[in-house]
């Protein structure tokens, strides 16, 4: 409400700024020639000074004097060129102003503005929570810890999602390469490594990236993201036939309603064109479609799909924010339906912590404890994880 009151005041001020001069009644202008006369007189005096300094010859000065005098005379005797009084446009102008200012301002503002959003200065946001849980501190703490313990693969794993989210792909790649060097990498990590390398090179699949991606695809054929980048790498290195085979394989392994198919088909078309094959070359059959509610999720329910991630990378930050929130929500929904999944709970808590939704993380922890209360061993790991994440 306060905001709209201020808007109203500002709008009124803007309208008044225009209306006041319009409303003040003043005689119609008669052209002010006095200033011009003053300037010509000053020019004459300056001419005399120049003459006395020898800046101009006597005959030339005389000629210039005549020129200026002629203009002076013309200015002095100029007829008052006031236009005969016509019907004043003041009133129409005033009315137009009164209409235009508020309506245009509000109209434009409603198009572009976000009246519901409060200011969110960082310090205030951080004050709302205990400082040791804010992401920067957490990352900084982990980074410090890793400086002295570079062999802690779990530590590096904590950092990766943060780096990816912050767009620090080079950092993500170097963290992942350390995890791989430590021999603690899962296929998830390798896939992420390939992705980080590609992202860090503005979409170019380098040799390193290609090697890792190939390894992932061989180890687990059902990784659409890895396979997509792998195929793309083949395409970029000129192996169009190989790329086509990989794209076809990817299509074959995807449900018919997988969201990434459109992108893959587009790429496949490029490859077909490069191979000089007809664009409608038949593609392999897909898997049967998943049920609608699940279709928005990744086929294995494991996380975002290749296309999701692609979309995320190209999206505006705002969209990306909501997409990430959406994915976390999906995970929460899945856990609500199937709560006996300790890994899922830990993942959810971590997600909430990274998104700085501390209360949600705490609630999730509570729910997880309820769901897993029969299993003492699991409960213990859960507590440990919660402690590590700083949930309680």
């Amino acid at each position: 409400m306060l905001l709209w009151t201020i808007f109203a005041l500002l709008t009124a001020a803007a309208a008044l700024i225009i209306l006041l001069p319009l409303m003040r009644s003043r005689a119609s202008a008669n052209m002010d020639r006095a200033q011009e006369v003053a300037i010509y007189k000053d020019q004459l005096q300056e001419l005399d000074r120049d003459r006395s300094r020898g800046l101009i010859g006597e005959t030339e000065a005389e000629a210039a004097r005549t020129e200026i005098a002629r203009r002076l005379l013309a200015a002095g005797t100029a007829t008052d060129d006031t236009v005969p009084a016509r019907r004043s446009l003041r009133l129409p102008a005033a009315v137009a102003t009164v209409m235009l200012v508020p309506f245009a301002a509000i109209g434009l503002y409603l198009t572009f503005g976000s009246p519901d959003l409060p200011d969110l200065p960082l310090s205030a946001r951080l004050q709302g929570q205990p400082t040791d849980t804010n992401v920067n501190d957490m990352v900084a703490r982990v980074e410090k810890h890793l400086e002295t313990n570079p062999d802690d693969a779990e530590g590096w794993k904590v950092l990766v999602p943060f780096y990816m989210r912050a767009g620090r792909f080079d950092d993500a790649a170097s963290a992942l390469s350390k995890i791989i060097a430590l021999g603690k990498a899962t296929d998830d990590d390798r896939e992420a490594y390939g992705e980080a390398l590609v992202a860090n090179n503005d979409g170019i699949v380098t040799k390193d990236a290609q090697a890792v991606l190939e390894q992932v695809v061989k180890a687990d054929p059902d990784r659409p993201k890895a396979r997509y980048y792998y195929a793309e790498g083949l395409r970029q290195s000129g192996d169009n036939a190989g790329a086509l085979a990989q794209f076809d394989e990817l299509i074959k392994r995807s449900p018919a309603d997988a969201p990434w198919l459109e992108v893959v088909r587009g790429k496949r078309k490029d490859v077909l064109a490069a191979l000089k094959m007809p664009a409608d070359t038949k593609e392999p059959d897909t898997l049967p479609p998943l049920d609608p509610p699940e279709a928005t999720m990744a086929p294995d329910g494991k996380g975002p799909t290749a296309a999701d991630m692609q979309a995320a990378a190209g999206m505006s930050a705002q969209d990306r924010g909501s997409m990430i929130a959406g994915m976390v929500q999906q995970l929460a929904d899945r856990l609500a339906a199937n709560p006996k999944d300790p890994d899922g709970w830990v993942k959810l808590m971590r997600s909430y912590m990274v998104l700085n939704r501390i209360d949600d993380a705490k609630a999730a922890y509570q729910k997880a404890r309820d769901a897993l209360k029969d299993d003492a061993a699991t409960l213990q790991t859960l507590d440990a994880a919660a402690k590590e994440l700083g949930v309680n």
């Binding site: 803007a14 225009i18 006095a34 300037i39 300094r53 102008a93 200011d119 969110l120 960082l122 990430i324």
Partner: protein, 661 residues
């Protein structure tokens, strides 16, 4: 809430600009006082609202409000406060907001201090200002809105922490440059207003010249600052790269310099009116063209921002409307303007015309060189036009202008005596040749072109004061009377001399640095000594230290001259941890007007060894000191009483002018 108030204020500013661009112009055509009076009110209001808007965005930057997309993308909570603030104009959207803020301030200044302008002229000038404002405010709101928000879960950390841009030089460089660019919008508005009215008052030139002069001073400062920043921050040791961005600032500078000189003729002699109008349009057009060609990412430049097709189209539209419209209006109305005063082929007017020809042709060849890659790529080729082209083409043209420059102030108005001027300059020529011979002897026989360059630099430098010397007549009337005579001269005479001398100084610095600098690239291990110029540089070893957000590897260098230790230098390489981005901090030591400049490269082959690049750059600081001197000349001219005789209150003025002579 503050953010949204800023956003709303920006919209209100657009609406005020809209009113300002229509109502006063109609009012001027109908001689309606009330409608014309809307112009200053709307201009001041617009300034107020854009200031609020700018303040709101600054607040968001200073408080790291990452719910604002623009702040998230271009700031970081770990940035030092100054760079949080300057980060506002380190990006496309924010810099456009700064652009309109400066535009509005200039508009407000005309509104506030334009009391002595003829009413219709003032209304039309502000009206045209309004058109420019509308175009750019629309551009901001529709394609580059800095107030867009992130609705859900705004991130807790921003993206940008580019260490190269964290530098005080870069914090003030863009505002200065913009003050220059946008300042020319005032002369543009005056030119268009004159064309609209179909007549030019005598007040016109007196009004345009101070604005053009102010814009020129800022632009000079901005260019010099940018050049110095690139010199010490990028670590390449160069002061000018003929990069499109640099050309974009040099072209309006050349056109603006031409405008200053032709406006002088117009103001004093009522000649060159049409040409001055054209230059006023050109100077602003080049400002627009340069800024936006680079902004839109059409040209390759290290300063380019991410390009966006909609922006490109919008920018193209703005360019077409203002440049095309301005020139068409000129073609249509110019013939209605009165003929100006007469002058002989040898006269001060002619000298100023020569200056104008050389300056505009120089600007044209730079424009051609800057656009050539674009033309070539349109025709399917790929070329890049670099320093060799610009040096070959710009050098002789500008050089020729410098050679004739000292003659100008010695020629009388309307009809000058070339022989008399030449006689006065014989002594200057002698001194210049002497200087060039001395430098030849000092450098043990340098290249011929360098001698010529030094000669020209001294010719300009000493020749600038020839007018003062002849006016004072020290030899005939004695020192005391001579100084009394000098003190009687108007300040603009000193302004001319100082301004021209500044150009000579810069030239001297450029010639000395490019011809006589010595450079050494070598790999050094601790204990090694390398020679550069007259110095022996010893590398003592590296120290590692940590800064607030970086770690630093600094080399300890001891510099000796003839075996005597003269000073220490610490060039370093910094690694900014957050971005894993290295920067090179050159070690620079100024001695006299020269500098010793050392940068570090990568580690060399051996243990502890490092690749080092060293320059001894004689007189290099003169390049920028010359620019400062030029600015001082501009300010002297600006303070000349003549430029204030626009007639604040006609009655009072005539008496004041009468009594002062």
């Amino acid at each position: 809430m503050i953010i949204e108030i800023g956003h709303f204020s920006l919209i209100l500013a657009l609406i005020l600009a809209l009113v300002q661009s229509v109502v006063p112009v109609i009012g001027a055509a109908r001689r309606d006082n009330a409608m014309m009076a809307v112009a200053p009110a709307a201009a001041l209001g617009q300034m107020l609202f854009i200031t609020i808007s700018f303040g709101a965005l600054s607040h968001a930057y200073l408080t790291s409000d990452f719910s604002v997309l623009n702040v998230f993308e271009n700031s970081h909570s770990l940035k030092p406060l100054l760079y949080k603030f300057s980060g506002l104009w380190g990006n496309h959207e924010g810099s456009m907001l700064l652009w309109v803020l400066i535009l509005a301030i200039f508009g407000g200044a005309v509104a506030a201090f334009g009391g002595n302008l003829p009413k219709t002229l003032k209304a039309n000038v502000l009206g045209v200002q309004g058109w420019v404002s509308v175009a750019f405010l629309l551009f901001i709101l529709l394609t580059s809105n800095p107030f867009l928000r992130i609705a859900d879960n705004p991130p807790l950390e921003g993206r940008d922490l580019n260490p190269v841009l964290q530098d005080p030089g870069l914090a003030i460089h863009p505002p200065l440059l913009y003050l220059g660019y946008v300042g020319f919008s005032i002369s543009f508005a005056f030119a268009i207003a004159a064309l609209l009215e179909g007549r030019i008052d005598a007040a016109w030139a007196r009004w345009v010249r101070p604005w053009a002069l102010a814009a020129w001073i800022f632009l000079t400062a901005g260019i010099a600052m940018g050049s110095y920043w690139a010199y010490y921050e990028l670590g390449w040791g160069g002061f000018w790269f003929w990069d499109p961005v640099e050309n974009a600032s040099l072209m309006p500078w050349l056109a603006g310099t031409a405008l200053l000189h032709s406006a002088l003729v117009m103001e004093k002699r009522n000649a060159l009116k049409i040409w001055t109008i054209l230059l006023a349009i050109l100077a602003f057009s080049l400002s627009l063209l340069g800024t936006f060609l680079v902004r839109s990412g059409v040209l390759t430049s290290v300063h380019a921002f991410a390009s966006d097709p909609t922006r490109g189209v919008f920018i193209l539209g703005i360019l077409c409307v203002f440049i095309g419209g301005g020139l068409s209006l000129f073609a249509w109305r110019a013939s209605t303007l009165q003929q100006g005063g007469l002058f002989a082929p040898v006269s001060r007017e002619s000298a100023l015309v020569m200056n104008n020809i050389f300056l505009t042709v120089s600007a044209a060849v730079i424009l051609f060189g800057t656009m050539a890659p674009l033309l070539a790529s349109a025709m399917g080729g790929a070329i890049s036009v670099g320093a060799p082209y610009f040096n070959t083409v710009f050098g002789p043209l500008f050089g020729a202008m410098l050679v004739i420059m000292p003659f100008g102030p010695l020629l009388a108005w309307k009809r000058g005596d070339l022989r008399a001027a030449a006689q006065r300059l014989w002594a200057v020529l002698g001194l210049a040749i002497l200087a060039s011979l001395v430098s030849w002897w000092l450098t043990h026989g340098g290249p011929v072109m360098a001698m010529v360059g030094i000669g020209v630099a001294f010719w300009v430098l000493i020749g600038s004061f020839a007018e003062l010397w002849t006016r004072a007549r020290f030899l005939e009337v004695g020192v005391a009377t001579g100084f009394r005579r000098l003190s009687g001269l108007p300040r603009s005479v000193f302004g001319t001399a100082v301004g021209h001398a500044g150009l000579g100084l810069s030239l001297l610095g450029i010639v000395a640095t490019t011809s006589f600098q010595s450079e050494t690239i070598t790999e050094m291990k601790p204990g090694d000594t390398a020679k550069v110029g007259g110095y022996e540089v010893t590398f003592n070893g590296m120290t590692n230290q940590a800064g607030p957000n970086y770690t630093e590897m600094a080399a300890n260098m001891t510099v000796r001259e003839n075996g005597v230790e003269v000073f220490d230098l610490k060039p370093s390489k910094r690694m900014f941890t957050a971005r894993q981005m290295p920067t090179t901090e050159a070690g620079i030591k100024t001695h006299g007007f020269s500098q010793l400049y050392i940068t570090l490269g990568d580690p060399g082959q051996g243990a502890d060894s490092v690749v080092v690049r060293m320059w001894d750059k004689p007189l290099v600081t003169l390049i920028w000191l010359g620019a400062l001197v030029m600015m001082a000349g501009g300010m002297l001219s600006l303070s000349d009483r003549r430029l204030r005789v626009g007639a604040p209150k006609p009655a009072r003025l005539t008496t004041a002018a009468g009594s002062s002579s």
